[in-house]
């Protein structure tokens, strides 16, 4: 850690560290300086000009996001002059932003509105100048230029993913941020633009106007499932700290919404682990180069579009919620004597790319999609609030049998490194017929973008890389281009920290929030007796009764990949048209 120093903000002495900015030091000491373009994941751009402060000895107003603290520095964070500057700049920002507060993923936590109140601004002082701009939809992402304030956070988030699909066009007041028409750039639907936009200009298709569609399917048996990462994040939408474990409350809430059954996708992750561990073992035995994880649909699309030559490295195993959907319609429904056509499967996912994944043709089984609807964490929280369901007050319930009890391995899928760790636990068993004494693979855990480990199993070295963020994935791909056998297994999650940092998760996101969400999942794993996918008796029972022949296993648990062409960019009349 850097040297400790003292500075003064509004005459209050605070302790901070060299290397911090005035904005960070203030925030960490409970002094709230408004900032819109600032995001802890991104570079300092200092373009919103709201975090202005006065510093003794310096001329005029300076953006606190840009200024590093110095010992003895005297900062004024509120003055008449500062308030005037913030008020006028806010009015100018509002003049770019066509309000659509009734249908905004910022909901009640909109920073613009909070600041409008604080600085008593006239939000209508100027005519909205962007009402003539476009609303674009590409895949499952909707970009509403009429709300964009030109801060460029999304452009940077997209560039960090090495997707470079969102771009800045033009200059001055003609400047526009929007999708690229370049043929070699396409969106992968990761949604990192959404969670880094300060003003709700980008959303998932159907957010929030489509949230009730699944509930309104008359005469259908409604089966809900929820991804591992949701339990550790949805509490934030109800004012709880990041990392609050809400599994039971989530199930109870879904039941209160009208779900007939609620299954835990983490159980399906145990199926994925068993299948993927099998593929990993084959890769190791045959020395065919790395096996890429394939449960992140944004990563799958990224490789299919940008590196079609490498799609042979993908594990063919389906992602957990797709396996669950297939089992619900082809096994559970039969046992319950229900026509699979009368069942709808709704997945609650931390992800905007999962909305795209369920539309993939090659996943259909006998003409039916395994999963019919995906709602993001944000959408579910919105739906709960709309229906007056407060997860803080609700009595927890267990998820339904037969798929309510996952292994710990299935739960850590939500954090970067969790998939490969689960696969290693099971691969060890497949290779040795013994279980590991120590199940924790600390080397692949944590928030670093690239984590590497070498694991020795009976004299065989397995080299793994767990990667989060597509920019980091590109680094590994570059390394593999040099040395094609550098790894045996590569896990990639498109979003920072894995699914816990997904594009469908509650806003805001930050390194600290993601760390807490991930830690909650690892704690669940530590607290469980059942920590191995291949020891999950509910899973083994299905293998015994149904997945007992290669054809069925293939049909339910495996898929194929293909080169992707650039998707269509549609121009909508308004964002409500997006579903």
């Amino acid at each position: 850690m850097e040297n400790k120093i003292k500075i003064f903000i509004d005459q209050k002495e605070i302790e901070t560290f060299e290397g911090k900015t005035v904005l960070q030091a203030a925030k960490e000491n409970g002094i709230n300086i408004p900032a819109l373009c600032y995001h802890p994941d991104l570079k300092i751009k200092a373009n919103c000009r709201l975090c202005l402060v006065e510093i003794k000895g310096e001329r005029g107003l300076v953006p606190s996001c840009r200024v590093q603290v110095k010992g003895g520095m005297e900062v004024i964070s509120e003055s008449e002059k500062i308030a005037r500057a913030r008020k006028i700049n806010l009015e100018l920002i509002f003049a770019q932003h066509v309000e659509e507060c009734d249908d905004c993923n910022r909901g009640m936590s909109c920073r613009l509105l909070m600041l409008a109140r604080k600085y008593k601004i006239n939000i209508k002082r100027f005519l909205d100048r962007k009402s003539v701009r476009n609303v674009y939809q590409f895949g499952t992402i909707v970009f509403d230029q009429t709300k964009c304030i030109d801060c460029r956070n999304c452009v940077e988030a997209c560039a960090d993913q090495t997707v470079n699909f969102l771009e800045v066009k033009g200059s001055g007041h003609d400047l526009e941020i929007g999708p690229s028409v370049e043929p070699n750039r396409d969106c992968v639907y990761c949604g990192q633009c959404i969670v880094h936009c300060p003003v709700g200009a980008i959303e998932a298709a159907g957010e929030f106007e489509g949230v009730e569609v699944p509930l309104k399917q008359e005469g259908k048996i409604k089966v809900f499932q929820f991804a591992p990462a949701i339990r550790a994040s949805i509490g934030e939408s109800f004012g709880l700290p990041a990392g609050s474990v809400m599994t039971g409350q989530l199930v109870a809430g879904l039941k209160a919404l009208g779900a007939d059954k609620v299954f835990d996708t983490s159980v399906a992750a145990d199926f994925t682990t068993i299948e993927e561990a099998g593929e990993l073992v084959e890769h190791v035995k045959n020395g065919t180069g790395p096996c890429f994880s394939s449960c992140c649909p944004a990563w799958v699309k990224y490789l299919e579009f940008n590196y079609p030559d490498l799609i042979g490295h993908f594990a063919t195993t389906r992602s957990p919620h797709i396996i669950m959907g297939g089992l619900v319609k082809n096994y559970w429904a039969q046992k319950e004597k229900i026509d699979p056509k009368d069942v709808i499967v709704v997945s609650i996912m931390p992800c905007t790319a999962k909305k795209y994944e369920i539309q993939r043709k090659e996943l259909e089984i006998d003409g039916l999609r395994p999963v019919d609807y995906v709602l993001t964490t944000r959408e579910l929280a919105y739906l709960f609030r709309k229906k007056g369901i407060n997860l803080k007050d609700i009595q927890p319930q267990p998820a339904d049998s037969p798929w309510g009890e996952p292994s710990g391995a299935g739960v850590i899928y939500g954090a970067s490194g969790g998939v490969v760790e689960s696969a290693l636990r099971t691969a060890y068993y497949k290779l040795t017929n013994k279980d590991l004494e120590k199940l924790d693979f600390e080397q692949v855990r944590g928030m670093q973008g690239i984590k590497k480990a070498e694991i020795e199993i009976e004299g065989k070295k397995i080299r793994v890389a767990a990667v989060n963020g597509l920019g980091n994935a590109k680094k590994i791909l570059d390394e593999l281009a040099e040395n094609p056998k550098a790894y045996d297994a590569v896990e990639v999650m498109a979003c920072p920290g894995g699914c816990i940092g997904g594009g469908g998760q509650p806003i805001p996101t930050s390194p600290e929030i993601r760390k807490q969400r991930a830690e909650a999942l690892y704690q669940i794993d530590r607290d469980k007796t059942l920590r191995l996918a291949h020891k999950n008796s509910d899973v083994l029972k299905v293998y015994d009764e149904f997945l007992n022949n290669p054809e069925t296993i293939h049909k339910i648990c495996h898929t194929s990949y293909n080169k992707k062409a650039k998707g269509e960019i549609r121009t909508l009349k308004d964002s409500k048209q997006s579903i």
């Binding site: 919103c48 000009r49 005037r84 006028i88 700049n89 920002i93 001055g172 007041h173």
Partner: protein, 322 residues
């Protein structure tokens, strides 16, 4: 050696900001880096300033000499002349002849006011987006491709050569324009007041007037009673007839700054747009205009946004009246 001479001469940058040249050179010379660059800023984007063209047209060898001295003194690997695109056709041959086999590249600047701002210039030469960089770091610390870079105006390099040759006369090149009778570029002592320059160049108007001094768009507005001050900035004096239609002149400024804003920061992108809208009408809300000018001047990211407020403030307070 040359740096000492520059310091003793008191030479200040002639691009507008007036930073002491000796100190800038020293900063680049002392910076530790494996590579360094020199840039001659010949963008001359401020309307009403023509001296850089005049110097490059008449004294190309002197300007190149100044750059050569800089390359040698700071240990620069490569130099650029960042040339106004309108000047390019007329000056290309002349400059290339003067450059000979020196490591100096002629770089055609894109159109646009913002491109003349020195950190935007760095982005342009590097092929990046046309917008200013956040400072610090200053170009003297991290300029082109992150290496220390000495950026000086055309006239500054010209004066450096004169200093090195022992021929420095402490004069500067004034551009006279607008309603001035005797327009053009004039070399006169650098400490002259606006009034003296008007008189010595035969430009004292015989009508009720005011001037904009230092730059044709971002220069200070001075009434005919305020002319006992040095010219400052890039050395231009634009003469206006006091009878000019107030809306006409403010429209002209508003439109210019709106069109030239890069769009990066809120006050400049939005503020100049709103000023342009406001002055389209026959009447304007003074309080609203003053609010916009306040954020432009106080909160813009780069000097161009901050400078955009200057003529409006001066005109409204001194000429238009309360």
């Amino acid at each position: 050696m040359i740096i000492e001479q520059l310091k003793q001469s008191g030479l200040k940058g002639k691009g507008g900001a007036g930073f002491p040249t000796g100190l800038k050179w020293e900063a680049v010379k002392n910076a530790q880096a494996e590579k360094k660059y020199v840039v001659c800023n010949a963008s001359e984007g401020e309307p009403g300033v023509l001296k850089d063209y005049f110097l490059l047209d008449n004294y190309p060898a002197k300007v190149i000499k100044g750059m050569e001295i800089a390359l040698k003194e700071i240990g620069g690997e490569q130099a650029y002349i960042y040339l106004n695109p309108d000047y390019f056709p007329a000056l290309e041959g002349k400059l290339k002849a003067a450059i000979g086999d020196l490591p100096i590249v002629l770089f055609k600047k894109p159109h646009g006011y913002i491109c003349g701002e020195e950190s935007t210039l760095l982005n342009v030469i590097e092929g990046k987006e046309t917008m200013p960089r956040l400072k610090p770091p200053f170009p003297t610390q991290a300029g082109l491709w992150g290496y220390p870079t000495l950026i000086n105006n055309v006239e500054t390099f010209y004066q450096v050569a004169k200093i090195a040759e022992g021929d420095y006369q402490a004069d500067r090149f004034y551009t006279l324009g607008g309603e001035a009778k005797n327009k053009g570029v004039f070399a006169l002592p650098e400490n002259l007041t606006v009034k003296q320059v008007l008189e010595k160049t035969g430009n004292w108007p015989d009508f009720d007037f005011f001037v904009q001094a230092g730059g044709g768009m971002s220069g200070e507005i001075l009434t005919s009673a305020e002319l006992d001050v040095p010219v400052g900035g890039a050395g231009s004096i634009t003469v206006y007839n006091r009878a000019i239609d107030p809306l006409e002149i403010m429209r002209q400024w508003a439109r210019f700054f709106m069109e030239q804003s890069c769009g990066q920061c809120v006050p400049c992108r939005e503020g100049t747009y709103r000023l342009n809208e406001i002055f389209k009408n026959d009447e304007f809300d003074r309080a609203l205009v003053e609010d916009i000018l306040f954020v432009l001047a106080e909160t813009s990211l780069c000097p161009l946004g901050r400078g955009a407020a200057v003529p409006f403030y001066g005109y409204l307070n001194k000429i238009y009246g309360k």
